[in-house]
Amino acid sequence: MDADRDKGASPGAPRVDALDKACGRQRYAADETPPGCLLAGVKRAGIPHGRIVRLDTAAARAVPGVVTVLTRADVPGTNRQGIVHKDQPVLCGQRVRHHGDPVALVVAENKDALAAGLAAVEVAFEALPAVFDPEEALSPNAPLVHPDREGGNLLAHGLMEKGDAESALAGCDVVVAGRFATPAQDHVSLEPPNGLARLAPSGRLTMVVSTQAPFRDRFEIAQALGLDPQRIRIRAPYLGGGFGGKDGATVQCLLALAALRLPGRWIKMAWSREETFLAGYKRHAAVMDIRLGARADGTLEAIACAMCFDAGPYAHLSGEIMELGMEHAGGPYRIPHVRIEGSCAYTNNPVGGAFRGFGVVQACFAVERAMDMLARRLGRAPESLRLQNALRPGETSAVGVAAEPGTDVAACLNAALAHPLWTGREAWKQAAPAFTRRGVGLVAVQNAMGYGRGLPDHATAKLELTRQGTFRLYNSVPDMGQGNAAAFVAMAAQALGQPEAAVACVQPDTAACPPAGSSSASRTVYTFGNALLRACRTMAEKLRNRAALALLCDTPDRLVLTPGGVSDPATGRFVPLSVLAGFLIRDDRICIDQFVMPVVENPPDTGREFKLGFPHRYFTYGACLCGVEADELTGRVRLVQCLLTVACGKVFTLAGVEQQLAGAAAQGAGLALFEELALEGGRIRAGDLSTYLIPTSLDLPDIDCLPLPDDEPSGPLGIKGMGEVGIHGPGPAVAQALFDAVGLDAASLPITPEVVLAALEELTP
């Protein structure tokens, strides 16, 4: 097995799902439309906060082709969905709390009838005072989003402390202070939320959903609608992107409700792009106040950080996202005295939820910008201050957890410093064309892996030898495009000595696959991969033993799995897997094993508010270099260089790592320079793809990815999760690069041409 640990997947081979996706053959949830399927759609509030004073569905019901119109009165169960905190109505009965809140569910025979039915739902509101600023929401006189709730608009609050930050700051030679802000962000998955549901006469509810968490969805639906979770079956085909936006119910409860009321009928719901903007979850906007103190020689002494997250009107995972943000607020640095306070406020803005980077994007921008401020104050180069304070293995992180052994953040920074984009930067800047100013920035990043303490980060893997002698692996963690299914096939093929073509992959299905946690938290390949490799080992041992009978070999350990069979190197004899499989009953052809991610053994005595998810044990580190060009006439900024160095354990497939890093960096670049929901009174003004601008291929450079030699002994084949770490760098690195280019000291994102032009005017009055 040790030799295997050093082998990646066969280099250059396309991932197993590539051809089907490139040819349009891959079936997504959106592609499934059974004959006679009805369509469901949602009437949404259209105001930020109000009481429903009249809801009349008679006209809508009378529309030809409308099958039913459902309201709160039709919802059994608690009518409350949510992952940890259950506070989000499936259908609003009395009160709406944001523009996208659902007030009625229309089911119709076709699109036109659905549109006419939705238009015919009559709803009248009494407008209520609303609150759109999370800090204002926490003031005593703010309108209450949930009036009966103890604690008012303060959804969650937490504190992480180490040492005595206040005293230490008072004694620092230098202290810088800044207020930093990051905006809400839409995931813009190619495939919007959608799904399909049917209640069978047996009472079993079957669903096909574009979801990151099919196993957990059952409980969320069951709780909201008063159902038995064991009577719900969910399939999750490949997703056309998720990024966190499909972690938690989107269409699930609404579809299930429609299915309950129309037994025996297939019902489909597919959000449009506009509806996804309106009703889908968003990355939390956040405001962060930081004071960072150091000795005159640059040694970091203390940080105090207060983070305030805009949760929107429902909890979703806001508290958990805040937790992770707080845990990363000290950066990958050695800081003895730390005080990080977090608050999440209910507002009448769109609902905050999971998004790649999960609170860390916000924290990383703030702490990296504070490091830049400190470097400037000390007259130090930004990269040297980071290197000086880079957290080393065994040292305690800002929140008091010992860093695991492995390649560290200093190595990531040093690799970037040795790269031609860095060593050649002065010449590159001097070669700027007319009216162009160039700048380069370099920041350090980190991202925790897994759920953290308190919530078992588990997966169970099932592997079947088919009667034909091939293998079928049951993936329990949805592949939203990140390539985990392909990685699982490659891992299993390698572990079983078979070509990838001999390993089929069943996508998550709660009726066929054993349970696993969600596709999230940079955990997917690590946790499920470990479970899968255990199942593969059991399977391989079983096959050697059974083959030993056929080969009359009394030392099965000398047998090896070779393509299509088991061979005895001593005799050259071979028994085909198809023959072996024929002798096994089905139970015997299946191996199931599981894995739970190890947790921090002696957690620090802080962050006590966080029963779930604090602290994390494993971190992936990286550095991000961005080279930008700012146009002197227009203030337009182009990201023209981007390098990511990472320490993410061993590399199993280089292409897989590069795709994740480049995709994450592109999303980070969007946050840095383009994406803006333009909220006004809780309404998204940029609510479609002609106004909400994500970067196109012309707006992004080729992204250089450099994974460093590393090994995580607990990981499958030595890997660590790395699906998120690439998103953090572009924001602060672009900001630093723009300071280098035009002297702009950006404290918030996105950085617009207007702000850059204003900075240029100061340079050339």
Binding site: D112, A115, A434, F435, E632, L633, T634, G635, R636, R638, F674, E676, A678, R685, A686, S690, T691, L693, P695, T696, S697, L698, D699, P753, E754, L757, E761
Partner: protein
């Protein structure tokens, strides 16, 4: 068909977008009508058929060679997919203040050929564009072609679109320029037009008047820029504020310093 209230469609990349919300809008496809397609050389210059796709125009050797301001404008319009479907006539009739080809057509002093069952008439582009989405098209009339006289071979042509990204962007501002200089480098004739800075794409006569007799130096171009600021009436929208547009519009002519 036009009498029945159908909208003539020449590509549909703009026309069909609102259709997602207003279902059932009828369109009359102009494809197949004779004389609306292709590029023809005439004694007076080029005749660009209204249905010529933007991609075809972008590739056309004479346009690339003699009308680079138009080729550059088309190259930054939408995306390759939109340029494959979108047409010259469609971009004109949409009459967006941000229409990418319009400033280029203005400095080329292009003439719109309008056709109806009553015959044909010709209007300069500046007279064809009346306001946002409003044109001088009469009832039952369509755009048949755009006629452009070839500018003198030595004329410098320039187009810049300022968008929030490099593809699929609606212009925040744009500047088209056509400059004729004498052998000493002094401006003989200057034509400047802007987009996204007024209710229609428009020429800037006062700024143009600042240049003849001068070299294209920083001072002259800054003066032209100041005059552009006085000639425009930018609005703020999601893409940019009015103040930013005004400030930036005055700087854009400086790019002409990079003209060969």
């Amino acid at each position: 068909m036009l009498d029945d209230g159908l909208s003539p469609m020449a590509g549909g990349t703009d026309l069909l977008v609102p259709g997602r919300k207003a279902a059932g809008r009828g369109v009359a496809l102009l494809e197949g009508l004779p004389g609306l397609d292709g590029v023809a050389m005439t004694a007076q210059g080029l005749r660009l058929g209204a249905l010529a796709s933007l991609a075809a125009l972008e590739r056309h050797p004479v346009i690339r060679e003699r009308l680079p301001v138009l080729a550059q404008a088309i190259a930054c319009l939408g995306s390759p997919l939109i340029r494959n479907m979108g047409t010259m006539g469609g971009n004109l009739v949409t009459a967006s203040p941000a229409g990418d080809t319009l400033p280029a057509l203005l400095v080329l002093e292009a003439v719109v050929e309008l056709a109806s069952r009553d015959g044909r008439r010709h209007l300069p582009v500046a007279e064809f564009l009346l306001g946002p989405g409003r044109t001088a098209l009469g009832p039952g009339e369509i755009v048949a072609a755009v006629r452009i006289a070839l500018p003198p071979p030595g004329a410098s042509q320039h187009f810049e679109k300022v968008g929030r990204r490099d593809a699929l962007a609606i212009a925040v501002a744009s500047l088209a320029a056509l400059i004729v200089r004498d052998e000493a480098g002094r401006v003989v004739e200057a034509r400047l037009a802007v987009g996204s800075l007024a209710p229609t794409a428009r020429r800037c006569p006062s700024a143009e008047a600042a240049l003849p007799g001068r070299r294209l130096d920083r001072e002259a171009l800054l003066e032209a820029g100041r005059r552009i600021r006085d000639e425009i009436s930018p609005k703020g929208d999601l893409r940019a504020t009015a103040a930013y547009r005004r400030e930036m519009a005055g700087r854009l002519p400086l790019r002409l310093l990079t003209l060969a």
